[in-house]
Symmetry: C2
Subunit: 247 residues, 2 copies
């Protein structure tokens, strides 16, 4: 086996190993859970779906997996059919739900990332509750968590992070972020190795400028060192626990 | 009054205002306190001594002030006599204590910042207790607090900061950092305005490289923006309370 092959095969294993570690350490999944994976069409949530399916035998916990994709009137996922084929091949039932996100704007209101994500989150929660899922799995990774921490600190003056588990008072379902221990570059390597990249796309509006800016500044600050990022993540450990129950 | 004069007069007022705010909000000083100011010979602790004396009438709290300078066998404070004249002019009794910091090293041990600061801290505490001071005031400012937070996060993987008040189990004295709300650039402006800079010096070993490096990276990250630094400081607010009582 060439070095290249070895490296390529390794990336998926690394993601699976970190996923199992997060699930065990953070009690993310229990026997009998019905888990709805929110697949955006991007690499992160697609890798999450693949990995959650892959680790099932090793975990020895029986849980159900389904995937929900939210289509909208402003951002068509150009790779949706390839994505659905991938999910079918992995044995994960796939549903596509159309939400008129722009159509819901009141006259004079402008489209923005906050509005879009709030609409998607609400629909996701409603769908999960209506279909008796007790967990929703999101594709956020370690770099997303660190970015949000730095954004909250520098823009809001708050020490807070995206929790890896979040419960709601209003809904009998919780959010989990099983890729929380995985760095973005490890997800990219896994997606390349598992031939997932060609089945994914990103929002054409791209990363909005505030997040792109903080991402660049964090890269400068950490020197893009995995060791430094992991120490920052370790420092955030207590902030990742549950979070305040949300309405 | 020229603009220049106005600006110059303003720097000292800004420091006094922030000092009063910190004292009031953090309950740093009470009636009858005997406060020992640790004067290193640097600009920060000299400005602290000046400002603590200046704000006394406005605070309407009676407290005693004295200053202790620790001289050592490896780092002579070349401006000690000017410093003592300044303190005398401000009405603050001054003591110079010699500690053989290098002389205490065991054979084979090397001099370093950690050893020096531990030796100084121990002597400071002993002196304060022996002379019945109940508070020790240190000259750390807002930038020092932020730097320590980032160092603890990136090097130790801990979310912790230098508290503005620190109690000891072993000693009947507590440490306070009344300049915690003041930025370094505000201290520099005040020292220039009050003709303090010529009376101060810094350790010839300078800032050791790890702290210099983190300082540079924080400046890049915050774009040297006061607003961003103040939001970070606000985020740290809960970490600045008391801290764990130390042995």
């Amino acid at each position: 086996m060439s070095n290249r092959c070895f490296r390529r095969t390794g990336a998926g294993r690394v993601v699976q190993k970190l996923l199992i570690k997060a699930i065990m350490e953070r009690n993310l999944i229990s026997k009998g859970d019905r888990i709805l994976i929110a697949v955006s069409g991007g690499k992160d949530s697609t890798v999450l779906a693949w990995a959650l399916q892959q680790v099932r035998p090793a975990l020895k916990i029986y849980y159900e997996l389904e995937a929900l994709h939210i289509s909208s009137d402003f951002c068509a996922c150009c790779k949706k059919s390839v994505l659905s084929q991938k999910l079918e091949a992995w044995g994960i039932p796939f549903t596509d739900l159309f939400v008129p996100i722009m159509g819901r704007l009141k006259p004079g209101e402008n489209m923005n990332c906050y509005w879009c994500s709030t609409q998607r989150r609400t629909e996701l929660l409603r769908y999960a509750v209506a279909h008796k899922f007790n967990q929703i799995a999101l594709g956020h990774h370690l770099d997303d968590i660190i970015e949000t921490f730095f954004m909250n600190m520098t823009a809001k003056g708050e020490l807070s992070a995206m929790p890896m588990v979040l419960s709601y008072r209003k809904y009998p379902v919780r959010l989990i972020r099983p890729l929380g221990y995985v760095e973005e570059q490890q997800i990219v390597a896994c997606a390349a190795e598992q031939d997932i990249l060609h089945a994914t796309c990103t929002c054409p509006y791209g990363i909005h400028s505030q997040r792109r800016d903080i991402r660049k500044r964090i890269a400068q600050f950490t020197g893009n060192s995995s060791a430094v990022k992991r120490r920052i993540f370790k420092a955030l450990s207590d902030l990742l626990v549950h979070g305040e129950p949300q309405e």
